[in-house]
Amino acid sequence: MSSAAPHIAVDNLRIGWGSRILIEHVTFEVARGSTLAILGGSGSGKSTLLRYLIGLEKPMAGRIQIDGVGEPHLYEGVPHFGVLFQSGALFSSLTLTENLALPLTAWTAIRGATARELCHAKLELVGLGPFGEHLPGEISGGMKKRAGIARALMLEPELLFFDEPSAGLDPISAVELDQIIVTLSRDLGITVVIVTHELPSIFLVADSCIVLDKTAKGIVARGDPRKLRDESEIPFVHNFFTRSSPDVSGEQHAIQGG
């Protein structure tokens, strides 16, 4: 596979349920080692698009390719990617170490001391080294998310998906999590797709972005988020990046103190 080939290629995707189309004509590519942010307001289909990218749902039309592989083989066998779900999605009956060891047990022959060593290293990487024997119920929300990242890394994926990683976290925890994402992307060369609407996160981690709008039922803007913030003339995109809302007369009001 040539390094110039996109890591993810999404072509003319249409998603929805029954006769209801949520978004359509979704086409974008993600370069290897880069970070793409999927942006949009609540209900615009960001997280839903992510569910399609990771193979939890079948699109109504269109094609998703990862590393040049599309359906029907894309989601078979050893996962090509790791996923951090919004809540961390750790198994509450297992310790953090046991949670991390699960993918190793499922897909590799690594057991015992080597497995523990790998689990511990990943927990250390996300700053949770001393918490390996804790249950998810015994740690904070931010720690759960970091443990979720560690678990997503266990099979050494070259691609990671994050669903609103900093949602519900305090600013310090959110920045710490963003720093982990930056480390993964820049130091480990992992391709990252992140669903978020946290502006500080977007500007810190994303190389490029696509903006979804539920009214337009698709992508309304794409490119460098900093450029979109400064240059976009599309009202929704402008409002999104400047945290302003149109009033009934159509004028823009910046939200103070937000």
Binding site: L90, F91, S92, S93, T95, T108, A109, I110, T114, R116, E117, L118, H120, A121, K122, E124, L125, G129, P130, F131, G132, E133, L135, P136, G137, E138, L153, L155, E156, T183, D187, L188, G189
Partner: protein, 373 residues
């Protein structure tokens, strides 16, 4: 190509050259190579690491190499990774260096004696929690009367339907089968003395006074007790109970009172229906295994049924219902953590509710025996 590490030494200087594939798929080979390499560097004061011959390395390979270098450093051998031939691998190894493999926390193993000791040490706390819950419930019931709006009365019809009407089939079936069992057992034992005529009375007395309330309560404890505990435990772990409290509701009055009242109301009814079905079971057993005419069976049954027998059984049932409700709610509200806690509390609720039912029934039997009721 698999993973290998060449380890040489020249005087006090060591040289490490990993080669091949250091990735997750070859983790076992990497681990072996790492373990073989360490002893060959005994006595070196410094070790140079050359990554030029690495074909591929990922996080797993980097972790194992980093741990080797950490151990060498800890033993006083200065390690130096030559970055120039493979900067990406050097960065990856650096990312996992010094992350304290030796500080790994291990689950502490405890022996049987320690576990018994720990359980005994927890007992006073658990008893205190139980009394605390009973006390809070005891306060909640009169407060509910004073302040009826603090109770979720709208849920009561649904609870009566769920715990009562929906349970009729299973409690009736259980009681009918118990009547059948008493019948067959009575016939087989009393036949030897020519006293088959006493089988109807045996069925009435055993079922009405003891087995009817007991069997019904055990089935309800398993069915509704599990449902209540898992419902409240799920509400607890998903912070719904906290939300109720934050809005000024007392979870005892809002949730526990209507559930306990529903059980107190439905258990006598379910027991009464079960008693009737048990008589049918006893009749079937007697009819198929003896030549006693049906009319004779019905007359004997009629004579055996007394208000005393009926009330001796039914009077227990509100207490049994209350016990099931309180135990299930207490377990549900005690849930901490995630989904696992729901399962643990549900299991505990069913086990404790059944045990509680048997203990209460035994206490009543003892009282009846002592007072001659």
């Amino acid at each position: 190509m698999s993973a290998a590490i060449r380890a040489n030494r020249e005087g006090h200087r060591g040289y490490l050259a990993p080669s091949g594939t250091f990735d997750l798929a070859h983790a076992a080979a990497v681990k072996r190579a790492v373990e073989d390499a360490a002893p060959r560097l005994q006595g070196c004061s410094s070790v140079e690491v050359d990554l030029a011959h690495l074909d591929r390395i990922d996080g797993a390979g980097a972790v194992l190499l980093a741990r080797l270098l950490d151990r060498l450093d800890a033993d006083g051998r200065r390690t130096h990774v030559v970055e120039s031939p493979n900067p990406k691998a050097a960065r990856l190894i650096a990312l996992y260096r010094g992350r304290g493999a030796d500080r790994r926390t291990q689950a502490r193993q405890t022996n049987a004696l320690e576990r018994i000791g720990a359980a005994a040490a927890e007992l006073p706390g658990k008893v205190k929690q139980a009394f605390d819950f009973i006390g809070r419930s005891a306060i909640a019931f009169p407060k509910s009367i004073v302040s009826p709006r603090s109770v979720d009365w709208r849920s009561l019809p649904k609870l009566l339907q769920e715990m009562g009407a929906n349970a009729v089939l299973v409690t009736s079936a259980a009681n009918m089968l118990v009547g059948l069992i008493i019948g067959f057992l009575g016939v087989s034992q009393l036949k030897r003395f020519g006293s088959v005529v006493y089988v109807p009375e045996l069925v009435v007395v055993a079922q009405f006074r003891e087995l009817g309330p007991l069997v019904t309560a055990i089935v309800v404890a398993g069915r509704s007790g599990a449902g209540l505990a898992s419902e409240l435990a799920t509400m607890k772990v998903s912070e719904e109970i906290d939300a109720l409290q934050s809005m000024g509701f007392d979870p005892f009055r809002w949730l526990v009172v209507p559930r306990c009242l529903a059980l107190v109301a439905v258990l006598p009814l379910l027991t009464w229906i079960g008693d009737v079905l048990a008589l049918v079971g006893g009749f079937i057993a007697t009819a198929v295994s003896t030549d006693m005419p049906p009319r004779a069976y019905f007359m004997a049954t009629d004579q055996a049924i007394t208000v005393s027998h009926l009330l001796a059984g039914l009077i227990k049932t509100p207490f049994l219902g209350l016990a099931i409700g309180l135990i299930a709610c207490a377990q549900g509200l005690a849930a901490r953590g995630g989904a696992a806690a729901v399962g643990v509390r549900t299991t505990a609720a069913v086990v404790l509710a059944i045990l509680g039912v048997i203990v209460i029934d035994a206490v009543f039997t003892l009282i009846y025996a002592v007072t001659g009721i």
